[in-house]
Symmetry: C2
Subunit: 280 residues, 2 copies
């Protein structure tokens, strides 16, 4: 049996880093994460064993407690509040999101108006908005740009990291035909498209595909649909407990891909079970 693990499978870099930082800084005292650090119940349970717990209101935090800022990031005012209250910050903002904060801050300081393409209710976007030193506007569609009445001398256009490439192109087109003196920096993170593309190409070259992730995870379900449309021997499992190795003995080459919220150890355990039991 040969097992090929898809590139860009599992956690994106930002989420992996946030969890690693939380674990590394954990001890016998509770480490709080401001909001959920990951949407996966097995992983949340594992983190509880490190005394890592989510909190949804900063007011509950006491002097000298410690809090993880998750990968989505936070506005400047959150840092200010935490510092004033003497709360220790473990900053796990995704570096790709942090880059947006720096661009927003730096360009708005230099007199640019910021246009951010994305969903203004998403925590990543509200965090990014909180770094502007001047005007910042969020647009969710090219129509919103066309209907906008505001004026600006110089504009910097950025994207929420998880929007689709097609939305960015449409908005870019609308802005180009309406404004002059514009700098476009596409800050979409490629993790999602890379994960889907690598699942697609792996499904073509293997005898069977295993997609690993929560049954309720929409991005894992999407990987399953992509794989199944190419390879009829595609199977969807939550973890090693669901897999019957006997079923795979007739497949020589098996591909594995995992959703964005599937921990690496869940995949490792499944690979080990496959290799060990297939030898018997």
């Amino acid at each position: 049996m040969k097992i090929i693990i898809a590139d860009h499978s599992g956690f994106c870099y930002g989420v992996k880093r946030a969890i690693d930082l939380a674990v590394k800084n954990s001890n016998e005292l509770t480490t709080y994460s401001y909001g959920d650090i990951i949407h996966n119940k097995d992983e949340i349970n594992r983190l509880k064993s490190y005394n890592i717990e989510p909190i949804y209101s900063l007011e509950k935090l006491k002097d000298n407690s410690k809090v993880v800022i998750r990968s989505h990031g936070e506005p400047r005012k959150t840092y200010k509040y935490l510092k004033e209250k003497n709360i220790n910050i473990i900053d796990a903002t995704c570096p790709y999101v942090k880059r947006i904060h720096s661009l927003v801050e730096e360009y708005s300081e230099n007199g640019f108006t910021i246009f951010l393409i994305g969903n203004k209710n998403h925590p990543e976007v509200t965090a990014s908005m909180g770094w502007a030193l001047g005007d910042i506007y969020v647009f969710a569609s090219p129509e919103e740009i066309n209907n906008f009445k505001g004026k600006a001398d110089k504009i910097l256009v950025l994207a929420q990291t998880t929007i689709k490439a097609s939305l960015w192109s449409e908005c870019e087109k609308a802005i180009k035909s309406k404004y002059d003196n514009v700098v476009f920096i596409n800050t979409i993170c490629s993790a999602t498209s890379l994960r889907q593309n690598s699942t697609r190409s792996l499904a073509k070259e293997v005898d069977a595909m295993l997609i690993i992730g929560g049954k309720k995870s929409s991005n894992t379900k999407k990987l399953y649909d992509i794989s199944l449309s190419i390879n009829p021997n595609t199977f969807f499992y939550e973890n090693k407990n669901e897999i019957i190795v006997q079923k795979f003995k007739n497949y020589d080459i098996i591909g594995i891909s995992a959703g964005a919220s599937t921990p690496k150890w869940v995949v490792d355990e499944l690979v080990e079970k496959l290799l060990n039991e297939s030898e018997e």
Copy 2:
């Protein structure tokens, strides 16, 4: 004038992070980097102003001095040596390389033989080899795999981050037809191909393209060739001093891409010059 900056332009994430870490940890005492942190003379000069200097032999370091491990990483024995000598380590190993170290360590501890596809003289590869707890072999071509006489019960196959996708596929094929019980994890970093692809697609949609980087940088030259083959109005500049803004006044939309060793501030300065002088 509208300026579009290519996604994945400039420093890869690992190099950017290494420089940021070095600067963040710098003070009036010299911060050494073990080997060159970046191949760009403007950036090396800038780093000197933070007292950051390369060193090529660890023996020159004294007690309590501090050293940056650059993005390529180091073998386990380097960490051991530095700890024994009481030297402070600023670990700027690229997270994608660190992942290879963890996989090598973890799988070799579990009885796997490691096959690493890459160049055994490259510092990244010698560093990765230094994390194995059992057998590890490096192969630079499918022929080397075919000629190899070694045996192994279970094999983990990994890649140097910068090899071409085609080399990985050829080696994967050779290993598949020779060995059973193999796990393949493609650890190629996508930064180079993403940078080239985004330059290619940007060149299609703009009136003129500016490629920014050192004239001797082979990866910047490659970006120039890609862009020129698509857009005849492609120009190659080292920095803002070379550009005559007047020349670009008749272009409405200008694309910008930068090589892997081009600092962000070099691009920022050029963008500022373009926007400010084109308004006059």
